[in-house]
Amino acid sequence: MSHPKLAEEFLKDPERAKWHDETLWIVRKNRDATIQQIPEWEELRELGSQIKDHTLSKLDFYLEELERKATENGIIVHWAENAQEHNEIVGKILEEKHCNAIVKSKSILTEECHLNPYLEAKGIEVVDTDLGERIIQFLKQPPSHIVMPAIHLKKSDISEVFHRELNTEKGNIDPIYLTYAARLHLRDKFLNAKVAITGVNFAVAETGEFVVCTNEGNADMGVHLADTHIACMGIEKVIPKREHLGVFLRLLARSATGQSITNYNSHFRSPAPGKELHLILVDNGRTKQLGREKFRNSLKCIRCGACMNTCPIYRRSGGFSYESTVPGPIGSILSPGIDIKKYSSLPFASTLCGSCTDVCPVKINIHEQLYEWRQEITKAQGASLKGASMKIADTIFKNPLVYKLSGKVMRASLKNLPDKLIYNPLNTWGTQRNLPELPKETFQSWYKKNRG
């Protein structure tokens, strides 16, 4: 299905859609309130943008430095060209450790690689430990937002699934009660897991370390209790120096939720004594995107989700309407790079309002890339009905006489045709809107009479 159809479905429950819109708007407002308190906020964005631009322009250099330093620190570094290879690397480590139950903290990369179904097919129990992710795991749904995966669910939805899966009281929707139930349930998993998987927010080439940011502490509960920590990262997550973490940690949480910082920011440099630490560097289409000059910028993304919170379309259609691992504005410029046909409706699911670009902490020109993808997609689609009508439009606008005539005909038909004929199902504009009223003359004819 395409975005417009799924969006239409989403809006069929207007109350729920309004609730979804308001909920995400509040997150956007919280972000605004926080950033207004940082006088140097725009300068920070510029720094973040430039650091990422620089890094991408020397990506091979920094990835090699990262590997070298990380290896010196005792981290085992792996490289994966694609999702399949990434999954196989993880699977192999689990096999070596004779591990058949793992805990995993939030990693959009592992979502992208569809790691969970791969491991589950091998008989491995995968427990997603971020509360939002655990909830959607129970519901067999993908995340609808990259930072708040269960944002589309209400307390009552969660209460129902917890009653089913965790035996909580039926109908008890108290968030404290439900969270505590999840705490007990997941604590048991943490205490018994031998291998823990995390994502990576930032990897520092200079020191060979990487950082994981959470509010729940679930990433740390997993890795510090397990014997083996596997960290999965997209190659674009590398940054040059430790001091750059100062810039990104100031930008990340504020952009994401309006907090000044996440409560836990763990820097992993070496495995704890007697334990193992693995880092998997994953390409999966990133070098391809790097090669697309107009879309290279999209790799600066630090996965804050601010663009989703601010997007009036995302708020009113929900993450699932994009049908891509990363939804919303950033998803709409990343996904067509992976499959231009499947995701062709995404860059059009936008009014190009530009709000996403202005909230992006690393100044990705998202709305401009949406525009550029539209040009690519129509080229890829070749001749089409829309293309034919656009060519006709160009012909009309190219020739003033033709324009005047077609305008005249259109205005005459609007004046003389009955409403029924004008407002029929084929006229989408008229489904919920009136056409503008016809003035008695065009500006052109007024001008000729009064100034000509």
Binding site: R316, A349, K398
Partner: protein, 252 residues
């Protein structure tokens, strides 16, 4: 550099010519009141935006070439539309044999409010306009041309249209709950994503209605046309005006 009696080429978007001629008349009269000589090239048609935003920038070459030819001879080109001006500055396909003229046109085209303030240096407009108004910040003008500060960034607060309207007697500029959310027009988006487009428009209207705003004032007729279409269908009690009409009316 101010030219005495600048010769303005008036660019009027196609839908304004066809459906909202009063906005064009108001723009022309306003510019004349500020001492400009205004010409409206009769052969003009369109800036090419509809094609480009639909993904067919390469097909809009004919329209673009015509635009450049029509407007290259003026001191300035002024349009009562942020989105058209932005398109011409940023998204026109390059026309090889008209490079010099194209660059000229792109450097001399202004949206009405930025022209009045930045070029004509208008400081104050005196007149009566005793109405409760809500200002709709059209996105291309706002985040493209930076005609006002947006709520997304931490920058000094300003709004060019507010600056022009600030001294109108009796005018109440009412603060909105969502100060610069998009109305949902978006060109072909209005038709291809009709459900969301209409919902966004309704939400903007509701933000005005619940504050008892009489008139929604904006700088882009495309947005106003979309919301007026919804408001008239839903029989909402609110009027729509382009700020050119407001200022011209106040100065009459």
């Amino acid at each position: 550099m101010q030219i005495t009696q600048p010769h303005i080429g008036l660019f009027i978007p196609c839908y304004i010519d066809q459906f909202y001629p009063n906005v064009a008349i108001a723009t022309l009269e306003l510019l004349e009141k500020f001492g400009c000589k205004v010409s409206y090239p009769l052969q003009q048609t369109c800036c090419g935006q509809p094609m480009s935003n639909a993904g067919f920038e390469n097909l809009s070459k004919g329209t673009t070439e015509k635009f450049i030819k029509d407007f290259a001879s003026f001191d300035y080109i002024v349009a009562p539309s942020g989105s058209c001006v932005l398109h011409i500055k940023d998204h026109q396909p390059e026309i090889d044999n008209l490079e010099k003229n194209q660059k000229y046109v792109q450097s001399r085209i202004f949206e009405l409010s930025e022209f009045l303030i930045d070029i004509l240096k208008v400081e104050s407009i005196q007149g009566d306009f005793p109405h409760r108004i809500g200002f709709h910040s059209s996105c291309h003008g706002l985040r493209g041309l930076r005609l006002a500060s947006d709520t997304e960034r931490n920058t000094p607060s300003f709004n060019k249209v507010h600056f022009l309207m600030k001294d109108l007697k009796g005018m109440e500029w009412v603060s909105l709950t969502r100060k610069d959310e998009c109305c949902g027009f978006g060109g072909t988006f209005a038709v291809t994503e009709e459900a969301i487009s209409v919902q966004m428009g309704k939400d903007r209207i509701a933000d005005h209605l619940d504050k008892n705003i009489e008139i929604m004032v904006g700088g882009d007729v495309s947005c106003l046309m979309h919301m007026q279409g919804i408001a008239t269908r839903d029989q909402n009690d609110i009027k729509f005006m382009h700020f050119a009409e407001v200022l011209n009316q106040a100065l009459s």
